[in-house]
């Protein structure tokens, strides 16, 4: 569950043409962002609905660093006002995310950063970003051997010899 703290009106100037939100990262950086930009996040939208019910403004504390949060905000800013099917809660869930050229460039980051972004996107319920990250991670290991996949993603082989050669595993490739 996110932590929500009350903030002063002076901290979040919310009476402008576009309402503002205060997001606080795990490294305690305060980031002010327009609500419109973050409306792609189901999580943020639900928080904002909660604010409206209580007529109080809050800062939203998020469990990831400002570096990751800024990347997410960059993504949301880029697609501000765009309709993305994956983010439509009323649309049927797409099987696989479409390839978007900008996303490929945006996600051209190191492995750990990519994993942090997908976790943040999952937390914030931004399905389109989750889909793009998933595709990018899949592309990293596509066509690789098991050993290469372990090396790329830093995973150890923890199978027992029996598990490794179990009849069931024969049906998994």
């Amino acid at each position: 569950m996110p932590t929500i703290v009350s903030v002063d009106d002076s901290t979040v100037p919310g009476e402008g043409s576009s309402r503002l939100l205060l997001l606080v990262s795990s490294d305690n950086k305060h980031i002010v962002v327009e609500e419109d930009i973050m409306s792609r996040s189901r999580f943020i939208s639900k928080q904002v609905e909660g604010f409206e019910a209580t007529s109080q403004r809050h800062a939203i504390l998020l469990p990831f660093s400002s570096f990751v949060l800024n990347k997410v905000i960059e993504y949301c800013s880029h697609y501000r006002g765009y309709y993305l099917l994956e983010d439509d809660p009323d649309a049927a869930p797409p099987g696989r995310s479409p390839v978007r050229e900008w996303d490929q460039e945006f996600l051209d980051v190191d492995r750990n950063m990519l994993l942090r972004i997908i976790k943040a996107a999952h937390y914030l319920e931004i399905k389109s970003l989750v889909g793009s990250c998933a595709r990018a991670i899949a592309d990293m290991i596509r066509g690789k051997t098991t050993e290469e996949m372990r090396e790329i993603l830093g995973v150890e082989n923890d199978f027992t010899p029996e598990e490794e050669h179990s009849p069931s595993s024969k049906c998994t490739g």
Partner: protein
């Protein structure tokens, strides 16, 4: 003496029993030299050591398992991991089933993969065990069942899969009629989730009689989501209730034998008012050239059609088009096979392909502006647009109509006759791009008569034997200044020509030189000349440099053959039928250098 480990194996400790050993801290090591020395002591028996090995292996595995939990990828929730795997599971011709190697990476990945039903929905028929495993692991998820040729499949496995008809979303069966009949019971079941159905009967060359007759009770008449139906050597009755919802229909037969009597096919199409894509390949028996215009059959209206593709004889295509009413916006792709011996009156049908008043455009044939024409290896293709945009995109994939005529190689005289007759049948006054590579020489007169109306042509690529007659026409036509053979030609590529070859009018070089000079004099000169794989000297190229703004030559010395790389790029087996290869073949002509973009701009602005 047992190995004196400093504490219980971490695996056990991790499971909660930490009472007997102090916890390890960062920097502490499980292994030290004393332990190793005592472990390999000669006093220890092999059994002792086996136990130690087993214990150590357990410790190692426990450590790796715990190490995995600290790995960033392992901290992702299972649904995200499953999503990543789903991208790997996307169908790929190059690496089928490669995604399943993820289940060999570690325990968690296997667990996630095995318990993600959506990953197992494309049923594998490589063995009965695999099929069963896929069916079980997919749980209740909608299935994609593509059997490939049933001849190579265990029929029982296919039947197991077909027992799941209520949850099959895509079904594709391909086999001989006997095998399809064995599976027929399953095809009579209701299919509430089915969206795509493809049935293909193996051909034995007996035509009509060899078609698989799809049972009237197909899918018990209940397939509310069925949108795509593909039939190869199969015939269905127009009375099938499932036809009404189709948006995509594809009927094909390997050669012009047909599977549907014409009247049945038209009746069938009349039951598909929602069709958006219609592909018919030899679906009707070949019609005679004469009598193909008979209009006894009713006209079928397909108001939503966006794409119409026909592959048949000229007569059959003309007949079908004359019986279809489709929106003007529908993209038309027609491939007509021309039979031997070639009869002149066959090409006369060409205008009728599009002139049909059934198409919702007042004079569609006249309204089409043919901008591209290419011919090579026994085929000819023209692409037309309804818009008269002289600077428009000539990408054929976006053309309103593309007509391809195919007659194959090796028929003496057919190339020239068909090109000449086709050009005479079409209005080529808006032609902008021309590619010609014929097996036989085309005379100067044929060139002039075929393309004398193409006064807008800007780019031409002429290859091999076609070059000589072309250069003669190029040279001769402007001698009188009144002639207008390709007067706006600005970019010319000549390929695989011998410039020393002489005729009564001089060598090829001399004829080209004259033509280029004459055009330059009347300010209708070439701006770009490309010489590829031509037998020409550097001195001759220098001379051409003097009168053409840009001459590009591959500097190939006489007698030099192309390298393997170049061969793969330019030695086209069928560029006319393959737009990608067409663009490859002409890339040096149209997009060889960045500078060409500016150059093209200057031409277009001219």
């Amino acid at each position: 003496m047992p190995l004196n480990l400093p504490h219980k194996p971490p695996m056990l400790a991790l499971e909660g029993d930490r009472s007997q050993s102090p916890p390890l801290h960062s920097g502490d090591s499980l292994v030290n030299e004393d332990n190793i020395a005592s472990a390999v002591s000669s006093a220890r028996t092999p059994d002792d050591m086996d136990k130690d090995i087993e214990q150590l292996e357990n410790v190692l595995r426990a450590l790796k398992k715990h190490r995995n939990t600290l790995s960033p990828i392992s901290r992702l929730p299972p649904e995200i991991l499953s999503r990543i795997f789903s991208h790997l599971a996307a169908p790929s011709l190059n690496t089928p089933w490669m995604w399943q190697t993820v289940s060999h990476v570690c325990r968690r990945w296997r667990e996630v993969a095995v318990f993600s039903p959506l990953l197992w929905t494309s049923i594998d028929f490589r063995s009965a065990a695999w099929t069963m495993e896929f069916l079980q692991r997919s749980q209740y998820a909608p299935l994609a069942v593509h059997t490939g040729d049933l001849l190579h499949r265990d029929i029982n496995s296919v039947q197991w899969a077909l027992h799941e008809m209520p949850r099959i979303r895509e079904l594709s069966l391909s086999g001989n009629t006997d095998t399809l009949e064995r599976l027929e019971d399953h095809l009579l079941e209701e299919s509430p989730l089915l969206e795509t159905l493809s049935l293909s009967a193996t051909s034995h060359g007996r035509g009509f009689d060899d078609c698989y007759i799809v049972p009237d009770g197909l899918l018990a008449g209940y397939a509310p989501r069925l949108r795509k139906l593909s039939l190869s050597m199969c015939r269905v009755s127009p009375t099938l209730p499932i036809l009404a919802g189709l948006t995509h229909f594809h009927a094909s037969v390997p050669d012009p034998r047909g599977c549907f009597p014409v009247s049945d096919l038209l009746a069938l199409l009349s039951m598909m008012p929602l069709l958006e894509t219609l592909i018919l390949e030899h679906a009707v028996p070949a019609l005679e050239t004469t009598g193909c215009t008979g209009s006894e059959e009713p006209v079928v209206t397909l108001n939503r059609l966006a794409s119409l593709q026909l592959n048949d004889t000229m007569a059959s295509c003309a007949y079908l088009l004359s019986h279809l009413r489709v929106p003007a916006s529908a993209a038309l792709r027609v491939i007509c096979g021309i039979e031997r011996p070639y009869e002149d009156d066959e090409i006369e049908l060409l205008p009728r392909l599009l002139v049909s008043p059934r198409i919702e455009r007042a004079t569609p044939f006249a309204a089409l502006h043919f901008r591209n024409l290419s011919t090579a290896d026994g085929s000819l293709r023209v692409a037309g647009w309804y818009t008269d945009d002289i600077n428009g995109d000539n990408d054929e994939s976006k053309a309103d109509a593309v007509i391809t005529l195919m007659w194959g190689d090796g028929s003496t005289g057919m190339d020239t006759r068909i090109i000449r007759d086709t050009c005479a049948s079409l209005d080529l006054s808006k032609l902008q791009t021309l590619y010609v590579s014929t097996q036989e020489s085309m005379s100067k007169d044929s060139w002039i008569s075929s393309f004398q109306t193409s006064t807008q042509l800007k780019r031409a690529c002429i290859r091999g034997r076609s070059v000589y007659g072309f250069v003669d026409a190029f040279d001769a036509s402007l001698k009188t200044r009144g002639s207008s053979f390709l007067p706006r030609l600005r970019i010319l590529s000549l390929e695989k020509a011998q410039f020393a070859r002489a005729s009564h009018a001089g060598t090829l070089f001399q004829r080209l030189w004259r033509g280029v000079n004459t055009r330059a004099e009347i300010r209708a000169g070439l701006r770009w000349l490309n010489l590829w794989d031509c037998d020409i000297t550097g001195q001759e190229v220098q001379l051409l440099h003097g009168v053409v703004s840009k001459v590009w030559w591959d500097s190939r010395p006489r007698g030099c053959t192309m390298s393997a790389d170049e061969g793969s790029s330019f030695d086209l087996s069928h560029p006319v039928l393959d737009s990608h290869r067409w663009s490859q073949s002409t890339r040096h002509l149209f997009s060889h250098e960045q500078a060409l973009a500016d150059f093209m701009q200057s031409i277009l602005a001219d």
